[in-house]
């Protein structure tokens, strides 16, 4: 690459892209449920502490690594430690995690698109209750329809990454994050008017000492990493598009704060609907694609609410999908010296192909024995592989790498004006974060209870 690297056009552009990346589908369906199951208010405090003391420092580490090297994950590692190639495993793991996530993410987001069209096509008029649940089993059970939406979602994501950092990712992230926020506020306002609000607030915020365990702390830490999209190489690439003058620490603080706010809003938005009808809070696909449409149907203006909710869902997915493709494409561009267009195209093609078994996961059209062998379907297996192993290990390696291998004086410059904060941050990267990540891996993988 002879010519200058493309940078964000403004600070707000980077912030919007980073927030868009961090606010993903997990926030809509994992976060509310996990909070409720792990001690409510206590867990919330643990989560906020985890974001502030562990998530934000690691976020700073990734952005800083990208900013200083002006390279994406793989080359950033070999630039800092050219002679110790084994560190690069962290980068490869992160990039590969992004690739795998995109493959099934777009299947789920595609189902979300299906529900936007379905809501707009008069799904809620003259509807019998049992048809709602059936619609999702038909959809996920139909490989061809799932592939159709999987394809459309991948195509849209590719088109944006294809256009470049400024005109593509930054431009669309800015627009979509704004829309996303407006949609969230409208739906939140609606939820505040429901009867189930009080019960939902109790469920989410009441400190429950019975359900809060030691493992809940680890859960909170894992969720903090996940909701900041760490350990996927994303923030290294995004950091490499940041100019020399930007204040990384401040930006990380803003992103961390925004993610916490959005997560709370999402939780307060979803649960009142569930509690108004006296249902059990559930998580995952079931909540989003079956419980919620069922509840929407009972509300006034169900078509509007449902359309807005699934539009929110799709926008959330899109702003998180851009970086997933971008990371892989950016690394390919640097490693193999190919153009952005070619990299974006081949990455999207590859994630589409690898996502086919995920799209066929429920129908069993491909790998019908998978479910029996792995006791979960293809999509869920990949999800677990990525979130239990790949992301934590990549985060661990990145933390150690930036903590121990990067030149101290270079790092310190970024903390000019923050006093002793640098020393604390460095200690966290070197000891505290790696230790906690190892605990998480041990706990999650079931090696120790």
């Amino acid at each position: 690459m002879e010519h200058a690297r493309e940078h964000w056009s403004s600070r707000i552009g980077f912030l919007m892209a980073a927030i868009g990346s961090a606010v993903g589908l997990g926030l809509l369906w994992k976060f509310p449920y996990t909070v409720g199951e792990n001690g409510g208010g206590l867990f919330l405090i643990a989560y906020i502490l985890a974001v502030v003391f562990l998530g934000v420092p690691l976020f700073i580490a990734e952005v800083l690594l990208g900013k200083k090297t002006q390279k994406s994950a793989v080359l950033a590692f070999s630039y800092v430690a050219p002679k110790q190639g084994s560190w690069k495993i962290g980068a490869y793991l992160g990039v590969f995690a992004s690739f795998l996530i995109m493959s099934y993410y777009s299947v789920i987001a595609g189902w979300g698109m299906n529900y936007v069209l379905l809501s707009l096509s008069g799904f809620y008029t003259n509807l019998e209750e049992r048809e709602i649940g059936r619609a999702f089993s038909l959809l996920s059970g139909s490989m061809s329809i799932s592939l159709f939406w999987h394809f459309l979602f991948t195509l849209i994501t590719m088109a944006v990454v294809f256009t470049g950092v400024r005109k593509g990712i930054e431009y669309w992230s800015k627009i979509m994050v704004k829309i996303l926020f407006v949609l969230l506020v409208i739906l939140l306002g609606f939820s505040l008017s429901l009867d189930g609000l009080k019960e939902a607030l109790c469920f989410i915020f009441y400190p429950n000492f019975d359900t809060f365990k030691g493992s809940s702390i680890l859960e909170a830490v894992g969720l903090a990493f996940f909701t900041l999209s760490l350990g996927q190489g994303i923030m290294i690439s995004y950091g490499s598009y940041v100019g020399e003058k930007e204040d990384v620490v401040k930006m990380a603080a803003i992103v961390g704060f925004s993610v916490i706010v959005v997560a709370m809003m999402a939780a307060v938005m979803i649960f009142p609907v569930v509690f108004t009808f006296g249902l059990q809070p559930d998580s995952g696909f079931g909540l989003v694609f079956q419980t919620l449409p069922y509840l929407f149907a009972k509300l006034p203006m169900s078509m509007l609410i449902s359309t807005l909710f699934f539009a929110l869902f799709v926008f959330t997915a899109l702003t998180s999908a851009f970086p997933l493709i971008e990371v892989v494409a950016a690394n390919l561009m640097e490693l193999f010296h190919i153009t952005r267009h070619r990299a974006a195209f081949f990455t999207a093609l590859a994630t589409f192909v690898v996502g086919i078994p995920s799209a066929a996961a429920s129908s069993g059209a491909i790998f019908p024995e998978w479910q029996t062998l792995f006791s979960s379907n293809f999509l869920v297996t990949i999800d677990r592989l990525v979130s239990v192993w790949m992301i934590p290990v990549a985060g661990l390696v990145t933390s150690l790498f930036v903590g121990w291998k990067m030149d101290k004086s270079i790092k310190q410059k970024e903390f000019a004006g923050y006093g002793a904060l640098f020393t604390i941050w460095n200690v966290f990267l070197r000891f505290v974060i790696p230790f906690l990540i190892i605990l998480i891996i041990i706990q999650k993988s079931g090696v120790l209870q």
């Binding site: 069209l117 707009l120 619609a135 038909l138 329809i145 627009i175």
Partner: protein
């Protein structure tokens, strides 16, 4: 963007035929007669004409004026006039997406027409019973390879016309086809006049029926006039951009709109006498065109000729509209991506063909076999519904609000009166319609059609 001057229509009459050809589409043949009959006959017709004058013509003129002013297609219009406010480009994008989606299923339906044209010429349907005729149609619809063949052929024909450019392609072929369309329609109409069913048909269509005319009928009329004038699909932006400053666009809008009204009524008065002669129930859509009519034609004297004429009319109406759909998408791509016309026409047609495959296979259920159960309509109908309930009205609404509230009044006045013999007073009427009346009514349509509010 190329440096050389934009290709314009060679003459007023060329533009006239292209615009009418685009406006007179398949909807006029199968939607219009039925909807008129179901919604109060003459009262509905009156409402339709009123809506076309009050709403249709102003929006039609607005799209043409914006296109001519900027010499750009739909998306370019808004990015040129509002470079810092990307929101307005949404109107252009909605139009382009509408045209793309319509073309994808339009060519499937027009392809069936092509199939019937060929089978009429060969006289294959002569002497068939009613059951046999509908059996033939079901066979065609559920045959995936035949549907794909006709879908492909129709797309190919459309592509070749757009490929050859504005003058040599669209204008040239619109002139020929729109004229033959008129001639065929008139011949068929004269023939229908001789049928005994003419009386009941006139009664069905022209008798004011107060019972079936409701408030939602007015909205139906409004939606139909939008649809029959091909508004909100980005088409008239592009066509406007192919005209020069000497053209009298307000006058042109009036002439084209009235021509469309006449064609629509003539179409209804051609189709229904046939239906009523044999005491059939009037119905709409594919059932009317592909099942009732072929059977009835075969029982009439000169059936082979009548049937051939009718399905040629059908295909020509489809083609002159289809070239507009492909042209809109292609011309926007040419401006956005800097593609050549040939590349744009080829890629766009290829994309609409591929996206139309699920529609072509909707009847056979080979692809997306569960679609019908999830959506309670097949893929083709879902696309049609999505475009006509949401995309077209919302795109039209944004355009209207833009002209009425955002675009500088002096600029619109200047453009309105440029090359026009209309008085400034007409401008004021138009301007206030765009400001209040039109947006208000479009919002009502959207609310009613989406089921958010029920006025009945």
């Amino acid at each position: 963007m190329t440096k050389k001057a934009r290709e314009h229509f060679s003459s007023k009459i060329g533009f006239f035929f292209a615009a009418i050809g685009s406006a007179v589409g398949l909807g006029v043949l199968w939607k219009f007669p039925y909807i008129v009959g179901q919604n109060g006959g003459a009262l509905f017709l009156l409402a339709y004409v009123a809506c076309t004058i009050l709403i249709g013509i102003p929006v039609f003129a607005a799209e043409l004026l914006l296109g001519r002013k900027t010499q750009r297609s739909a998306i370019g219009v808004f990015s040129l006039l509002m470079p810092t406010k990307p929101f307005w480009k949404l109107a252009g994008w909605l139009g382009v997406v509408s045209s793309f989606l319509i073309m994808s299923f339009y060519s499937v339906v027009a392809g069936w027409g092509l199939s019937y044209m060929v089978s009429s010429i060969t006289g294959a349907s002569r002497g068939m019973s009613a059951e046999k005729v509908s059996e033939v149609f079901h066979l065609l619809v559920s045959s995936s390879d035949l549907c794909l063949l006709w879908h492909f052929l129709f797309t190919l024909m459309t592509m070749m016309i757009v490929f050859s450019g504005v003058r040599k392609g669209i204008e040239h072929w619109s002139r020929i086809m729109t004229r033959s369309l008129f001639a065929m329609l008139f011949a068929l109409f004269l023939y229908s006049c001789t049928l005994p069913g003419m009386g009941p048909a006139i009664e069905f269509i022209l008798y004011p029926n107060f019972e079936t005319f409701t408030f939602s009928s007015v909205l139906e009329a409004l939606g139909l006039s939008f649809f029959t004038l091909s508004l909100g699909q980005g088409i008239m932006f592009s066509y406007g951009s192919y005209t020069s400053d000497q053209e009298d666009l307000p006058m042109m809008s009036i002439i084209v709109s009235f021509a469309v009204i006449i064609v629509a009524i003539l179409g209804a008065l051609t189709i229904f006498p046939v239906v009523f002669t044999f005491g059939f129930e009037p119905s709409a859509g594919t059932g009317l065109i592909f099942q009732a009519l072929p059977y009835l034609f075969s029982k009439l004297p000169g059936g082979v000729l009548i049937s051939t004429l009718f399905f040629s009319l059908f295909v020509f109406a489809g083609l002159t509209s289809a070239m507009a759909f492909v042209e809109v998408v292609a011309s926007n791509m040419m401006e956005l991506m800097g593609w050549s016309r040939k590349k744009a026409a080829l890629l766009v047609s290829m994309a609409t063909f591929i996206f139309g495959i699920p529609s072509a296979l909707a009847g056979s259920g080979i692809l997306f076999s569960d679609w019908q159960e999830i959506y309670r309509m097949n893929f083709l109908e879902t696309m049609d519904n999505f475009v006509s309930v949401w995309l077209i009205p919302v795109g039209g609404l944004i355009t209207t609000v833009f002209v009425g509230w955002i675009w500088n009044k002096e600029a619109s006045q200047e453009e309105f009166l440029k090359g026009s013999s209309c008085s400034p007073r007409l401008f004021s009427v138009w301007y206030y319609a765009m400001r209040f009346l039109v947006p208000g009514l479009i919002i009502l349509i959207i609310l009613q059609k989406s089921g958010l509010i029920n006025f009945d």
